[in-house]
Chain length 281, copies 4
């Protein structure tokens, strides 16, 4: 039962009236409980909550006039990740997949699983189905790609990195998701915080649907899966951008952190405007 | 208030145990009421209903052993399309979009709106926002593309047809959706039947979100919008394939129809196994 | 010293005044001597020779009015392929490459070697340079791709088939060429006839520049390299299309053959209009 | 009759034995005479000339050990551009194109003219053939694209910028070349210096084959065509990179200039090692 402090401060220069949609607040579910949480802006503005029913992702909206704005978010999260014998985790037969899971078999913007059907089959047909096969995909992607920030961008897809063999966390996740879907295994993108990630940043990983549940994987192997804190999930990174900006704003600074509670202090960003929005005893 | 008969018969040769997911049954909502409906197979097999909560699309699942199978679907639908003064239909400001609508602003497999932001702005910035702008996109796409079956395929995207300038209904819809999203207008793909479409076939069109409601458009202009009967909607064609096949099956024949009730007779496919699954008085 | 009969008959329906450029006549060089050769059309028209100085490829031009035209080509070729100990065939150092060879290091339409630099290095860095490395590429491509006519088209590139893993002879050659160039080995596309190819057709293969000479390879392994008869070479298939058509013509039939002389009879196409254009005693 | 001073100094940090191929020396032909010219390195090394017979481009090779190297090039060029009544410049009929010109109709790495056949026809079929049509393409591309350094890269193609609508000089040239070829007009890429280009840099433009000669066009309209000084030409930018580097070298500084002789002084780069390699009285 791990207790993790996560958070971020995001500074923007606003050049025209701008609307933001933030996906920086952690999810609350059976595997992840929020002990304390606060979100605020400086200068103080109203953050409106926004939660699509399909994903349940917790978003915040903000309308800002020209000037400067800082967004503070911090939370202490208690992780209670599922422990199961992975050897027994098999793939769910297509005819037994719940209706809401089917969408995670379809190709999406950055995961062209329709194009990789043969590739996936040729590479992984001889691997035992289930958790073993997904882990094999993760290991293969980790070995195949080189982690090189700056080599890919916001339009880069799984097929692109299959050719260039470089990428960052989102590219690793996209390629794994694409190969899973191509093999009939539902897979989705997860955005979150990662304990002890170096350098600290938002992180992207993925989940595969095995044995009637979603299981976390991180093909970058840059941080332990046991320290991954979920913000939200979607078909791919298009669904869970940490900040969607409509208007004219420039990111001037960004700090992100995730570390074990009680072992380190968070950066002091003394935000007097902060208001607790959720406290679980 | 139009009454329309729609339906299809789908014949398959099954070479190995195969699972089907059909999206051929029409939607039921405030604009579209099902008067009578039946779905059946020959030989008679159990069709399991399947309805994802996010889309509400009505799907049917079927598990088939090797041999031959025919799927029959027919419905009589009463259309009650929304009539509004389109001159008053404006775009919804980003900060006012409902949470469940936001997803239809994101790029998807066949609609790379992230890549067409500048293109869309350069082409349509001088057009009045709202219904006029969407209609302008529809007219532009209709003029820009040539309708040529066989020139595109299941992997073809909006950017692909921007280059090749040919396509079929799904490509027309994808390009319109992509341009709408690139301009900040939520848009989604709709699969359906189209009254008097020649040659008869399943049809693909799209909806744009204007004035807090979804409005139908069909850039192919091959059939009147007033005769479009919805099966289901999604981000793009990846979400609403009329038949998803997992296994080994070969489509051997397909008939699709949609015509005004009482003016024509449906093809006689006298399926004694058919069971009424929905009847609205 | 093999003697091979090659040839083709090409039938076209001409719907408007049309110009053709044919690359069907075999090359003549130190490794390939033309014993007898004839080219003709029915009805009889003037075929104009056309030979770019850079490639030396032997082309024929033809202007045709609406109607029907058949082009006949046949040749008996004496092959005298270079025999060298391939173990001694090393790569030529960049600084020693002749000026006219450099162009075959550059990326071309179907061979995006600029994109595959890392891929090529990751896959083949541990293989001994020289003939061994090229043969390793050939074996890898042969194993990696599935030969499936109809899965690729005239716009398909090496990167495309790296993703889809299917293709035909030109795709096999393009992928090999691309990987060679990405590793600094000059490589070019060769169009030709292939003895005993089943089904008979024009064939595409490639050459790599090793030890100051060009060496033939065929990654499809569908026909012995010793029976490959060269028509011409270029950067990729864009340079050596067997028929370039400017106008409106429809190919109605095509026969291609290549077999050992004296062991089989050519198809009887009794072209009385044929004129011998080259005879080596 | 313009006299133009052009040149460049290129500084590199060499981290491992490296081979360079420079295309920085101007071409000499009937329209462009070299009055004086010098090329040298500091420290002094031997530059080997290298001239492919097909293009006639003047290249220099250089092998460098680890350390630092500066390459100096300067020339005074007398331009004598062809003056012809462009209204009489028609396209050459396909059947009359010289054999060596045909290659400039084929698609190349950055100019996928095979994909843009319909696009080009739809956009430019109503424009009078010949110089008028090429000028119409140039004007259209200039209007269509936005000149934005940093938005495209070394792998960007004509089809890419058709979608993104941004690019730099090479992208403008590639799109024009592609549209010309798609319409049956031979076109090739030209690298060179451009008088009064701001900021000073190497420049990329193109030539179209009209009335049996090559005519220069520059779709960027950033510098007068009358001040374009040719280095070399090729199918596209892949053929005329100003520096090809095989090894491990880092460009640390680059200065390029082109200005009317006698009106300005060149930057003082006092290269005592320079050796005159060409002097026309």
């Amino acid at each position: 039962m791990d207790l993790i402090n996560v958070g971020c401060t995001l500074d923007y220069q606003i050049n025209a009236p701008t609307n933001f949609l933030f996906q920086i607040a952690v999810a609350e579910n059976e595997h992840q409980a929020i002990e304390t949480e606060s979100i605020s802006t400086n200068p103080e503005l109203t953050l409106e909550t926004c939660q699509p029913s399909a994903s349940g992702n917790r978003m915040y909206r903000l309308s800002v006039q020209p000037g400067f704005i800082t967004v503070h978010y911090r939370a202490t999260v208690k992780l209670n990740q599922m422990q199961r014998d992975t050897r027994q985790l098999n793939e769910t037969r297509y005819e037994n997949l719940p209706a809401d899971i089917l969408t995670f078999l379809y190709p999406s913007r950055y995961c062209e699983s329709d194009k990789l059907a043969r590739f996936a089959w040729d590479e992984f047909q001889h691997v035992e189905p289930g958790h073993t096969r997904v882990q094999s995909i993760v290991d293969w992607v980790n070995d195949y790609l080189s982690y090189e920030p700056g080599t890919t961008g916001p339009s880069t897809t799984a097929c692109d990195v299959l050719i260039t063999r470089t990428g960052v966390c989102r590219d690793y996740a996209h390629l794994c998701i694409t190969l899973c879907r191509a093999l009939g295994i539902p897979a989705r993108y997860v955005a979150g915080y990662a304990k002890d990630l170096q350098p600290p940043d938002f992180h992207g990983f993925f989940e595969a649907y095995l044995g009637n549940a979603w299981f976390l994987f991180d093909a970058t192997k840059l941080a332990p899966v046991s320290g991954l804190v979920r913000i939200g999930s979607g078909r791919d990174a298009a669904d869970v951008s940490f900040a969607t900006i409509v208007g004219a704003a420039l990111s001037t600074q960004m700090n992100v952190w995730a570390f074990a509670a009680q072992t380190q202090q968070p950066p002091d960003d003394s935000d007097n405007n902060s208001q607790a929005i959720s406290t679980a005893s």
